[in-house]
């Protein structure tokens, strides 16, 4: 079995372009909804890409602002201006 990483967000309008971007960029990710929140699981690795969010949003997006609607996560983080990666495995 491949270990999963996950990320979850408040289910609101502001988080939507981020959630959509994640689902777009991570074909193996699975989204589950609970009251007021969503949880996205993916085997071993999940990436949040600024470019995809900006495409969905139609304007510039500062990747650090995903923190505002972020609820939780699991996995080793690697963060740059362009990508926020969650992964298991050696850093």
């Amino acid at each position: 079995m491949q270990d999963k990483v996950f990320i979850s967000f408040q289910n609101n309008d502001e988080a939507r372009p981020v959630i959509d971007a994640i689902m777009e960029d991570n074909p193996t990710a699975v989204l589950s909804e609970m009251p007021a929140m969503v949880k996205i699981d993916a085997p071993m690795r999940l990436v949040v890409r600024r470019e995809t969010i900006e495409k969905n949003l139609g304007r510039a997006f500062d990747l650090q602002s995903i923190h505002i609607n972020l609820i939780s996560l699991s996995g080793n983080i690697d963060e740059s201006e362009d990508e926020f990666i969650l992964a298991w495995g050696r850093r």
């Binding site: 990483v5 007021a36 929140m37 609820i71 699991s74 080793n76 983080i77 963060e79 201006e81």
Partner: protein, 512 residues
């Protein structure tokens, strides 16, 4: 010479890591006197990987945005009497427990992270801890503000600060956190940031807060998720601390393993209270404790430990016991809440028929065979006008301070009790996990302030009976304590709703 603008990582390094220096007018060991005595060996603090890279200006910006949203919702919640939209006022037992038991931990965390934020030698680690210290202050304060409105309409909140250092059941969270804060700095961050926040608090903040949303508690949902957005930074700090320490020196591995074993078990025991919130205090159910344990520990937690195995870290000791117990502990705990609520500042009640059915569905034979019959027996007594309350103070575990209600893992009819002797004194424990913790640190755990013993020694305002003790806690039957259905909270709830009982029926309470 023009230089290309720095990347996020490089910029953060310049903004933070170069600020500290090796002191020469005072020896470094005197400036940082506490980061060596645990035996953790740090060869190079510069190998620290910043878990997140927020400069202060970005921190202010994003946090202010969160606060603006949060207080707008809290204001509107109180202006519109949002408390009336709860699924049922029973639900507030969970929120009273939160204010009495969890909010003080947020403040304690703020102090603990100020302490390690001062004491670690590495600038990167210190800044991460200081930011967390400020976040934890935020959580304590936003919770006070959210509960402030509930306090105006319901009882059990108003004397929480008085009870915090005195009540028998609040000694459980208090001793948990004070254990962490009085430990060395590395143990503190391992216990709170890693074992508690990374491994275990998802169980509180995800399913329970989602449950708060489902039960109409906009205030708790808002501060809960808003706090959790900070928590993901804290969890990342927890994982970084563990990896950093393990990479620094092989001698650190057994020390960290001992911390992880200890704090997994401590945290797991504390979460028995949270499990009870999910299974018994949410009138509209979202997820059972057993299901949440399956997702957040058996799935996500095990993945984390698989990843850590390359450092020589194995799964926490007794994790398999915790998994086996998932079918039992919440029912056992609620039984104690139900019978001991004359000496608590929250109400308890018998599960409604639709809730019994939900518990049967989620826990199957375990519930139907061991717990349903007992609830039905209590129900018979209630019908006969003899609602059962206990009149004794429980024996509590010397380590976790939880009353003696846990059972042997393979025999749910047999109470689990362990003993240990130290310096001629006999100590009682709820489990092998708690006994091991004591045996590793008897000098520490023999100091524990054990409320039932203190009461018998006259140190609770001279109280000799449970009723006198409750009065000393400023709890009265019907107002703060006792059964929900004979409480002022319930009477007021009916009055405010035109005498209509809002208890959800089974169909309304099912997961959407």
């Amino acid at each position: 010479m023009a230089v290309k603008k720095a990347s996020l990582k490089e910029k953060y390094r310049l903004m933070t890591r170069g600020l500290d220096w090796e002191t020469t007018y005072q020896p470094m060991d005197k400036v940082f006197p506490y980061d060596k005595y645990e035996g953790i060996k740090i060869k190079d603090w510069d190998k620290w990987e910043d878990p997140f890279r927020l400069t202060m200006d970005a921190y202010w910006k994003y946090q202010a945005e969160k606060e603006r949203k949060l207080y707008a919702i809290l204001d509107s919640f109180s202006q519109n009497n949002g408390q009336l939209n709860l699924s049922d006022a029973r639900y507030l037992t969970a929120i009273k427990l939160w204010m009495q038991g969890i909010t003080p931990l947020e403040y304690a965390a703020h102090r603990g992270f100020s302490h390690v934020g001062r004491q670690f030698r590495g600038a990167g680690a210190r800044v991460a801890c200081q930011m967390q210290a400020l976040d934890e202050l935020r959580h304590a304060q936003t919770q006070m503000h959210a509960f402030s409105h509930y306090n105006k309409y319901f009882s059990g909140f108003h004397q929480a600060n008085h009870m915090r250092d005195r009540a028998w059941y609040l000694s459980i969270p208090k001793s948990f956190f004070e254990d962490a804060m009085t430990a060395g700095p590395f143990e503190f961050v391992t216990s709170i940031s890693f074992a508690f926040e990374y491994v275990l608090t998802n169980l509180l903040f995800m399913p329970f807060v989602s449950g708060a949303a489902y039960n109409g508690d906009v205030a708790t949902t808002t501060f809960g998720f808003s706090a959790q957005s900070d928590e993901s930074r804290h969890m990342t700090l927890g994982l970084e601390v563990v990896k950093f320490v393990l990479e620094q020196h092989e001698d650190n591995v057994p020390i960290m393993q001992r911390y992880i074993d200890k704090w997994f078990w401590r945290g797991y025991r504390l979460l028995a209270l949270v499990g009870t919130m999910m299974d018994y205090m949410l009138p509209k159910k979202v997820m059972s404790w057993a299901e949440a344990w399956g997702v957040y520990w058996e799935e996500n937690g095990l993945a984390l430990f698989n990843d850590l195995s390359r450092y020589g870290i194995r799964l926490p000791k007794y994790h398999e016991i915790a998994t086996k117990e998932k079918l039992h502990i919440t029912h056992q705990a609620w039984m104690v809440f139900y019978t001991a609520c004359p000496a608590t500042a929250f109400h308890a009640w018998l599960p409604q028929p639709y809730e019994m059915d939900w518990l049967s569905e989620k826990y199957g034979e375990t519930f139907d065979r061991f717990y349903r019959p007992r609830f039905e027996k209590f129900g018979d007594l209630e019908k006969a006008g003899k609602r059962f309350y206990t009149n004794r103070l429980p024996l509590v575990c010397q380590t976790c301070q939880i009353p003696d209600f846990f059972t042997e893992v393979d025999n749910p009819m047999k109470q689990a009790v362990r003993h240990s002797e130290w310096r001629g004194m006999k100590f009682n424990f709820c489990s092998d996990g708690c006994k091991d913790i004591f045996v590793n640190e008897p000098e520490k755990f023999c100091q524990a302030y054990i409320p039932p013993q203190q009461i018998y020694q006259g140190n609770a305002g001279g109280a000799r009976t449970l009723a006198e003790y409750a009065a000393w806690l400023r709890c009265g039957m019907g107002t703060e304590s006792g059964d929900y259905y004979s409480s002022d909270d319930y009477a007021n709830w009916l009055k405010w709703h035109g005498e209509r009982d809002t208890t959800p029926s089974s169909s309304a309470a099912a997961q959407p």
